[in-house]
């Protein structure tokens, strides 16, 4: 189990090596950000479809979509990534690692986001819907002028958390060879046979991006709530 403890036997952090690999890691960070952004955009849209499908009022559709969402939410993303990447070719569909990774991450987080949307829509009191009906507002006006402005503020924290969540899950894409940050660090590590600097720097880069993003999202939430007139 625990195989040993000596005080720093092989610890030699080399600054020269760290600076040498920094540019490559930064380039890979751009890939990571691109993957997270693309995945999030897909998840936002598919998640909305999942959420709306559960509001159609047709019981069979609601039940089937619920079960699909549950299935996606309770199985590991990394297995889903493998599944989508390897199953396609078996049936003659070849997807690039990048495409299958985006589909997997997009679908996975769509399941989570549909729950956030659902909770947001459900938080709008029934009276608001009834009032819209009484005023004979069209469906578009009901949604865009009345419902969404009220459903958005309670949904934003969840949406923000999953943006950071997607960013932190992108390293899993390395298993099918997407050249994101963790993939680059592993490649550098095995080339120079030094893992200390690459992996430590990856950890620091993740912290440097996710902590300010989380902070910025908190600010954005209160800004939106104010802009929509939901809070003074």
């Amino acid at each position: 189990m625990f195989e040993g403890f000596e005080l720093f036997p092989k610890f030699d952090w080399k600054w020269s090596f760290a600076f040498e690999i920094l540019p490559r890691l930064l380039w890979a960070t751009l890939n990571t950000l691109l993957a997270a952004g693309t995945g999030y955009a897909i998840a936002l849209i598919i998640g909305l479809l999942f959420a709306l499908a559960q509001r159609t009022g047709i019981r069979a559709i609601t039940l089937i979509v619920r079960e699909i969402v549950e299935f996606i939410r309770s199985t590991p993303l990394v297995v889903q990534i493998f599944f989508i990447f390897y199953v396609g070719p078996q049936f003659g569909i070849r997807l690039s690692p990048w495409t299958s990774g985006m589909i997997a991450i997009g679908l996975h987080y769509a399941a989570y986001l549909s729950e956030v949307y659902r909770a947001g829509l459900e938080s709008v009191p029934r009276g608001q819907w009834e009032a819209c009906k009484a005023l004979n507002l069209s469906m578009t006006r009901t949604y865009f002028r009345v419902i969404i402005p009220q459903a958005l503020p309670p949904a934003l924290p969840g949406m923000g958390n999953y943006l950071v969540g997607i960013f932190k899950d992108t390293p899993m894409l390395m298993v099918i060879g997407v050249t994101e940050l963790m993939h680059a660090a592993t490649a550098l590590g095995s080339t120079y046979y030094r893992y200390l600097e690459p992996y430590t720097m990856v950890g620091i880069l993740f912290l440097l991006i996710s902590l300010p993003t989380a902070f910025g999202l908190r600010r954005f939430e209160s800004f939106v709530a104010k802009a929509l007139g939901m809070r003074k």
Binding site: F2, P9, K10, E70, S74, T75, Y86, V87, P171, V175
Partner: protein, 222 residues
């Protein structure tokens, strides 16, 4: 169908082996996560800034970086600092420490959500800190935090799939190996997905709901 049954006959045993390792990893990681969550969740509420600060650093660090990065760091880098774990231990330690940080926030949130009057009543009855926590606050906080812990345990179960990347022979690892020799990807990864789904949906969720009901009754809420 016939084909799939033959497939299961040939490789079912390996899926069972892998599932057992996944269950071990999940149980050990869950124990560690619960311990870590309780410890850092309570430390987060301390009045002493050093204790509170330590807990904040721990929580933000583990929530700010990826589980995969932490796993690789513990397995590949920690030995250079003199702490060497075998792969099985490194696996559940990484998962437990990571999910424990999320759990610590649940512990903190639920303790804070216990109504103020309960604290005041404890003061009025001259209870010590220890007695107050054990007899009054924590039982009520537990009731509040059980539903989100159910979700967290499913996240933890899913997190253990990553330990296959440092070659722990769990369910995911077996699926990958079988896929590598048979090229039957839909069957291999599909079976793994279904087993993960059943573990979450048939074991973890109902188990947690039963525990919630039991605890609710014990607290006289139902």
């Amino acid at each position: 169908m016939q084909h799939y049954l033959e497939y299961l006959q040939a490789y079912g045993g390996r899926f069972v082996d892998g599932t057992l390792v996944t269950i071990q990893q999940t149980l050990l990681a869950a124990l560690l996560a619960i311990f870590v969550a309780a410890l850092f969740g309570m430390m987060r509420l301390s009045e002493k800034w050093l204790i509170r600060g330590t807990s904040i650093v721990y929580i933000e660090f583990f929530r700010g970086t990826s589980l995969l990065v932490q796993l690789y760091w513990i397995f590949f880098v920690l030995p250079l600092l003199g702490v060497t774990f075998d792969k099985f231990t490194a696996g559940f330690v990484a998962v437990g420490l990571n999910l424990g940080a999320y759990g610590a926030e649940l512990v903190r949130g639920s303790i804070e959500a216990v109504p103020k009057g309960q604290y005041e009543a404890c003061h009025a009855l001259n209870m010590s800190y220890y007695k107050r926590m054990r007899r009054i606050i924590l039982p009520q906080a537990l009731l509040l935090m059980l539903p989100p812990w159910g979700n967290l345990l499913i996240e933890l179960l899913k997190g253990t799939a990553l330990v296959s990347l440092i070659s722990v022979t769990d369910l995911m690892f077996e699926a990958k190996q079988i896929n590598g020799t048979t090229y039957l990807s839909a069957e291999s990864f599909g079976t793994a997905l279904i087993i993960y789904y059943l573990m979450a949906r048939v074991v973890v969720s109902p188990g947690m709901r039963a525990f919630e009901r039991y605890w609710g009754k014990k607290m006289g809420r139902i």
